[in-house]
Subunit: 254 residues, 2 copies
């Protein structure tokens, strides 16, 4: 039996500010996703794999999907949380990373999220094999099959959708020259509207990125609820599916 | 001659994340304004004047205006800056606070901004006198006349405006139950569009809040440029002036 290699973990503390929290004082998903991408960047920097080093190979990491369980109801503005991450496993074309959000005492976990990543050639914009020197330092096991994770259920044909239109604003772009990944979560969730969002708490989600939304695009964010506590979402640009997502909810007070 | 009382200063370090920076990797004004409000909150908390203590008096601080000079061009994602603040002076109805953003060595200053504040009764929504116990701990001098600061120039009658419409989204509201103050900066600047925003750097600004924008409102953000390096802005809701602002620019490379 081979010894199981253990991936390096990286953690950092973070105090929740008022602008990372919603009207009710709980952190919003888009901001949590931003914090988690910061902890991933910090780990990469510590391992000598900053953006410059990565792009010197002619490629870049692209997040293909997220899935996870969250419980933000007991977190409030001013709380200090621990953000953590580690690589989980990889093969030639896929890698998975795990993130968590926990209290300082290690008693409670507020989020456990996985992402699946591919490596894209910056010139051809095509997926290519992951350069070994960019993945080995994370010390995650190399595997035959990388688990693909839960995919969002598709919206059934002919379902009646509720939708809203958004324009991609200049300030939606970030220092990575892309629409900020986290911005998608605001577009996905905003159409559910205040009444639903303040009376339900998010339990779990799965999101899959198909096509990138670009600067100045107009997008359409639509959802359908097959049950009162499940919402299926899609973001389209000119009829082209860019993002699909599934969210599971719990009524607050139940 | 009376001894001049010196206001307490408060500073904290902050590392710039990619989602606080624009496409070119420099911090965006709205995020800097959010950071500065965090350092002000931290100082208040340290002095035992958290939001709960303030609201127990039946009132709340309201920011009436900001003005300041900024230079974000030499700051990049990953840089660690020092955020600082102090109360400047106050009288019965007005208080002013100063904020700064500097490097760790104390060699360079990236922003110096002043805000003017009033105190509003939470029930009547009217301005009232500042409760002494909420202002004395900051140790700023009490003065006869609080300097009102630079006001944004008004847009001349009949000027041809460029404008864009925005809808106030659920996630524009923050843990203070208001549209996030910083959000106004994105609405003000976005209509200038990418070409202008990437070829100019902001030098100084003045912003005045007249009426609060509320959840679910539709707003119109318009601007007029009396010179190639000055922009005058207004945010209106249903014809009612909510915010006015003036920005001074410098062409990058000049």
């Amino acid at each position: 039996m081979k010894l199981q290699q253990t991936a390096r973990e990286y953690e950092m503390p973070h105090q929740l500010t008022y602008y990372e929290c919603d009207e009710q004082g709980h952190p919003v998903l888009s901001m949590v996703m931003s914090m988690l991408s910061v902890v991933a960047d910090e780990q990469s920097n510590e391992l000598g794999l900053n953006q410059k080093t990565v792009q010197a190979t002619g490629g870049t990491w692209v997040i293909a999907s997220f899935e996870g369980k969250v419980n933000f109801q007991s977190l409030k503005i001013g709380d200090t949380v621990i953000l953590g991450t580690r690589a989980v496993s990889y093969n030639r074309f896929f890698a998975t990373r795990e993130y968590w959000l926990r209290d300082q005492e290690g008693q409670r976990e507020y989020a456990r999220i996985k992402s699946s990543l591919v490596f894209m050639n910056l010139t051809s914009r095509k997926i290519e094999s992951i350069p070994p020197k960019l993945i080995i330092p994370y010390q995650a096991p190399q595997v035959k099959r990388v688990p693909r994770g839960k995919r969002p259920k598709q919206i059934p044909e002919g379902a009646e959708l509720s939708s809203r239109q958004y324009h991609v604003r200049y300030f939606d772009l970030d220092g990575n020259h892309h629409v900020n990944n986290a911005r998608y979560f605001d577009w996905l969730l905003d159409p559910l509207e205040e009444k639903f969002l303040t009376s339900h708490r998010l339990k779990s989600f799965a999101i899959q990125y198909h096509q990138e939304v670009r600067a100045d695009h107009d997008i359409d964010s639509a959802f359908f609820m097959p049950t009162p506590l499940t919402s299926l979402h899609q973001i389209k640009n000119n009829g082209l599916l860019c993002t699909s997502a599934e969210f599971a909810w719990e009524k607050i007070g139940d």
